[in-house]
């Protein structure tokens, strides 16, 4: 199967941008197309990054919070979207800059994930250096999601 071949071939997977629909499908374990089939079969000893992009009202939604929690539990690393206001005045959480997604920070984290996955201290050190833990949703409850700055 193609999705298994791609899964075995890849060392790193990046979904950029990640839509709300695909986020929901990953969180619920659905696999009705090639991309979600690869994610469903993914070996989480290898790093998987997602860079979501959606409107602000959806980003702050209850379901989005649940889905983000779910993908964090799976082991997927989130590249935090950027809050912007479009020319027409709409608020959006746009995908992080391509340069950020390809940055040394992401590469370092990927390397740690690949070669030192047992070394928790080194992982935590890099996480604390490159990431922050941020609250989501109106309730202000902290979510243990990993965001790359």
């Amino acid at each position: 199967m193609l999705h298994v071949e791609l899964r075995n071939w890849a060392d790193i997977m990046v979904i950029a941008p990640l839509s709300t629909n695909t986020l929901g499908k990953i969180a619920l374990g659905l696999c009705d197309n090639l991309l979600t089939s690869i994610v469903r079969a993914w070996d989480y000893r290898k790093p998987l990054f997602v860079a979501p992009s959606m409107s602000t009202c959806i980003w702050e939604d209850f379901f989005t919070e649940r889905h983000l929690n779910a993908i964090d539990e799976l082991g997927i690393i989130l590249i935090r979207p950027v809050s912007i206001t479009t020319a027409s005045g709409e608020r959006e959480h746009a995908m992080a800059e391509p340069s950020t997604i390809c940055s040394d920070g992401v590469a370092s984290l990927a390397l740690v994930h690949l070669y030192l996955d047992v070394n928790v201290d080194a992982m935590l050190f890099l996480i604390n250096t490159h990431c922050t833990v941020t609250s989501l949703g109106t309730n202000g409850k902290p979510v243990s999601a990993i965001f790359l700055n």
């Binding site: 199967m1 374990g29 659905l30 009705d32 089939s37 469903r40 079969a41 799976l74």
Partner: protein, 263 residues
């Protein structure tokens, strides 16, 4: 461990509530159908003159009426089995599954869109009626017309999905119903037996999400026929067609024996 306890209890409570609601809905539907009996029979008779499917519906309804009148009557001579197939490598065995069940039961077939490529070149018996997603939308034009997934749900005594794909497993666990098969599953009366025979990659079978989904369908009351690991490849293949057939038949006959005693 402590935190998961109450969560599981909540899950069970929700499951019970869901079943209760489902049964309440079923009762309401039964009442509605009783009221519409006259209209339905009239329409059925009219349609019987023109369409074979209408005849099938008429026969099904007549059987239902007969059974309703005499509750102590023995079960029908042949059980009515609804077989479903999802898009998976093991869909290639679906024809053999059908042939096994045709020897024992009346069979109708439901196919998902992604199943069609896998079984397109198989030869099925001519009298086997296959339903696909389009039938749901093409036959319904106005209120009062039969709804395909409800018709199939009422007709069937047993439902078997073989093979069950990973995607459909996730949808059943999450309560989604975006095609004919998942609509039937969502509407299913769990007092009737329901079996699934999954088929997937070995890495997907041991995944935590799959475990969650398997637990969810177990709570619903669906019987899972476990896949068989293949040594040559990293694949958990659907159980053998004969295994599926014998498991389902043994389970059904045991249930009937318990229900009617030694006839």
């Amino acid at each position: 461990m402590d935190s998961s306890g109450p969560a599981r209890e909540k899950g069970k409570a929700k499951a019970v509530a869901r079943r209760t609601r489902a049964r309440a809905k079923a009762k309401a539907k039964a009442k509605a159908k009783a009221k519409d009996n006259t209209k339905a029979n009239t329409k059925a008779k009219a349609e019987a003159n023109t369409e074979a499917k209408a005849k099938t519906n008429t026969e099904a309804k007549e059987k239902t009426n007969t059974e309703a009148k005499a509750e102590c009557a023995p079960p029908p001579e042949k059980p009515r089995v609804l077989l479903a197939c999802c898009g998976s490598i093991c869909a290639a065995k679906f024809e053999r599954v059908c042939r096994h069940f045709l020897e024992w039961a009346e069979v109708k077939v439901v196919l998902t869109r992604s199943a069609l490529p896998y079984i397109g070149d198989q030869t099925f018996p001519d009298d086997l009626l296959a339903c696909i997603d389009e039938h749901e939308w093409l036959t319904w034009k106005q209120i009062g017309d039969p709804v395909v997934h409800i018709e199939l749900r009422e007709w069937a005594d047993i439902m078997i999905i073989a093979p069950l794909s990973l995607n459909t497993l996730g949808k059943i666990a999450g309560g989604l119903c975006d095609n004919l098969l998942t609509c039937i599953v969502r509407a299913w009366d769990y007092e009737k037996p329901f079996f699934v025979a999954p088929s997937m990659e070995s890495s997907e079978w041991i995944d935590s999400l799959t475990e969650d989904h398997a637990m969810a369908i177990d709570e619903l009351g669906i019987h899972l026929i476990p896949p068989v690991p293949q040594r040559a490849s990293e694949y958990h293949a659907m159980a053998q067609p004969f295994t599926i057939y014998s498991s389902v038949r043994a389970s059904y006959e045991l249930k009937m024996k318990g229900k009617y005693g030694q006839v």
